[in-house]
């Protein structure tokens, strides 16, 4: 069912929701930009509609709301371990279709890759409901249509925001806290982005593609800062980290922290041996995961085309251009066969 609400009526609705849920949306984070005295749009908790920033793409994805950058897994207490409690107030996240698709990828890795279910991911993820923000224009670096991630249906409610009003679709009845006349409203989806990518067919990607010269360009350009990893809605890798809470090694804390395949040390083993020393090899590794390897396991691509990696790269490396270049060399390879 749907409702047509003025901005202030929608604000009242958010206030009602906030009694039961913590509300997260893209907001302006003042002074948190890349440079001094600049702001950035990121995900944060809101109390009212006017805090939401919808005219820009959020610099970071919403993943950190339920997959924290650093999370305590448990405490060592002498000969036993104890898992800390978390805030169990349910959460509502306002997000675009690309991110909804990205979260499906995170769900797959944490809940379906291998036989074990990730306890820490699931206990936070189960608290979350989604309100999809209709996104018809996209932004300069988006290529969600090429990735089939422009549409989503895994949400509990959706909104269309205009200057005049807000149209609200509610699929989960528990979120229907409104009286008054209902309307029919279905959100629409973007049909074309400015940026388009062509993904090479996974069967056409060969060993030669791995060894192609194009990766050398990225060895020269990438500085291994890992911003593409941290901003990506689908990057899920992490590393264990322990910290001592007593000198006798009886009390300690185990955490996990986000890790990135572009960052030094990601593949290092004890004794010093590592893989992918060159940054171009890391670019190749990430690219293949996003548009090749993941597909082979789960029949869909990992990348959802949100374009954040292009937005955040300090070296102006464009992932969409990389995909297209890769497609060109794969096509050339086929012709040469």
């Amino acid at each position: 069912m749907g409702y047509q609400l003025s901005h202030s009526a929608f604000d009242d609705y958010l206030h009602e929701l906030s009694k039961e849920y913590r509300l997260f949306a893209p907001i302006l984070q003042e002074g948190k930009g890349k440079f001094a005295l600049t702001d950035v749009v990121g995900y944060g908790e809101i109390n009212s509609f006017d805090e939401m920033v919808l005219k820009e793409k959020s610099y970071f994805s919403p993943k950190e709301i339920f997959y924290p950058i650093r999370e305590t897994l448990f405490y060592f207490l002498n000969n036993r371990v104890e898992t800390p409690e978390i805030d169990i107030k349910p959460i509502i996240i306002f997000l675009r279709p690309c991110d909804l698709n990205g979260i499906k990828r995170l769900d797959t890795i944490f809940l379906k890759n291998g036989e074990e279910v990730d306890f820490y991911y699931l206990r936070r993820r189960e608290l979350v409901k989604f309100v999809m923000i209709e996104c018809l224009e996209g932004f300069d670096t988006c290529y969600c249509v090429s990735m089939n991630s422009n549409k989503a249906d895994n949400y509990e409610a959706a909104i269309r925001v205009t200057d005049k009003e807000i149209l609200l679709q509610i699929k989960d009845e528990s979120l229907d806290l409104l009286d008054g006349q209902t309307i029919d409203f279905e959100p629409d989806f973007i049909k074309e982005n400015k940026v388009k990518v062509t993904i090479p067919n996974v069967d056409d990607v060969t060993k030669e593609t791995f060894n192609n010269e194009i990766w050398k360009e990225y060895t020269a350009r990438c500085i291994a800062c890992g911003r593409c990893n941290t901003s990506c809605i689908t990057c899920s890798c992490y590393t264990m980290q322990d910290t001592k809470l007593s000198d006798d090694k009886r009390i300690g804390e185990r955490r996990r922290i986000w890790a990135g395949c572009h960052v030094d040390g990601f593949s290092d083993m004890a004794g010093g041996h590592g893989f992918r020393d060159k940054n171009g090899e890391r670019m190749r590794f990430k690219t293949m995961h996003k548009i090749n390897d993941y597909y082979k396991r789960f029949d869909e691509h990992m990348c959802v085309g949100c374009g954040r990696c292009d937005d955040v790269c300090p070296e102006y490396i464009s992932f969409s251009k990389c995909i297209n270049k890769l497609n060109e060399i794969v096509e050339e390879g086929k012709q040469n066969d």
Binding site: G114, V117, F119, L122, D242, G271, H289
Partner: protein, 263 residues
């Protein structure tokens, strides 16, 4: 909801010195294990690391650990009666059925002997289960030798060659890289001979290439990979190679698969 990340405390039953930097830790353990699987071991507040199981039996398992990092430095301070935390086992391990009644050569380099030790030992003790057991082991120097007593025992009923990269004045055995000694194996029926190769990446690469040159079929070669698994359960991403997760589908791979994996 079960939490696969929680480790359990286990008692150390015995610590044996193999070399100055490799100790074998015997730990109290009940449960099913397969040679070649690994455990995630940890010390509170220090860290966690994947360590392969080199031996197991009624009520215990053993791991040979090299002192090379923050965690293993601390593990080396542990002694009989102390405890450490573990979770696992993880990985596929060496399936004995693959090698039963076959002509098999186990080829190991350095600490690569640890993950395959149990499987060699099983066949050495159960000669009726294997058509022909051969072992080729390489160490850097005589001082780096592991499982010296086990190797002596295996030599009593099998063709076991030990080579060192660099000998010293007391060394009377073979010298040179493992790849130089493939000919010491019985290659009379190489079409049906199985090889298991475990060691540092560079050793595995050149050994498998040499085996193929000598006529081994690719499908008869098995390798075991070492990677830095943070989780062991397919989530952390550290051991991923292409679409393969070493912790889930490995660490033991057939060469047909292994040769396609590009780090």
């Amino acid at each position: 909801m079960t939490n696969p990340y929680l480790p359990t405390v286990y008692e150390i039953l015995e610590v044996r010195k193999e070399t100055d930097i490799d100790y074998t830790f015997k730990v109290s353990y009940e449960g099913e294990l397969i040679g070649g699987q690994f455990m995630e071991i940890s010390i509170p507040g220090v860290g966690e690391a994947p360590i392969s199981i080199c031996n197991f039996g009624e009520g215990f398992l053993e791991m040979t650990i090299r002192k090379v990092g923050r965690l293993t430095d601390q593990v080396f301070e542990l002694t009989t009666g102390d405890t450490l935390f573990m979770r696992g086992p993880y990985g596929n391990g060496f399936d004995l059925e693959t090698y039963k009644n076959k002509d098999v050569a186990f080829i190991a380099g350095g600490t690569g002997l640890a993950p395959v030790r149990k499987t060699i030992d099983y066949f050495s003790r159960n000669q009726n289960d294997i058509k022909n057991l051969e072992v080729l082991i390489g160490f850097k120097t005589p001082d780096d030798q592991l499982f010296v007593d086990d190797i002596k025992r295996w030599q009593e009923n099998s063709n076991v060659t030990v080579t060192v990269d660099h000998g010293d004045e007391t060394w009377t055995g073979e010298t040179g890289l493992i790849t130089k000694h493939i000919d010491k194996l019985d290659l009379s029926d190489v079409d049906n001979k199985i090889a298991v190769v475990v060691g540092p990446p560079i050793m595995m690469k050149f050994t498998t290439l040499e085996l193929i040159k000598k006529g081994f079929k690719e499908e008869n070669i098995w390798v075991s990979f070492e990677r830095k698994m943070s989780c062991g359960i397919g989530k952390c991403g550290h051991c991923k190679i292409d679409e393969t997760y070493v912790c889930l589908e490995g660490p033991v791979f057939n060469y047909i698969k292994a040769k396609t994996l590009i780090d």
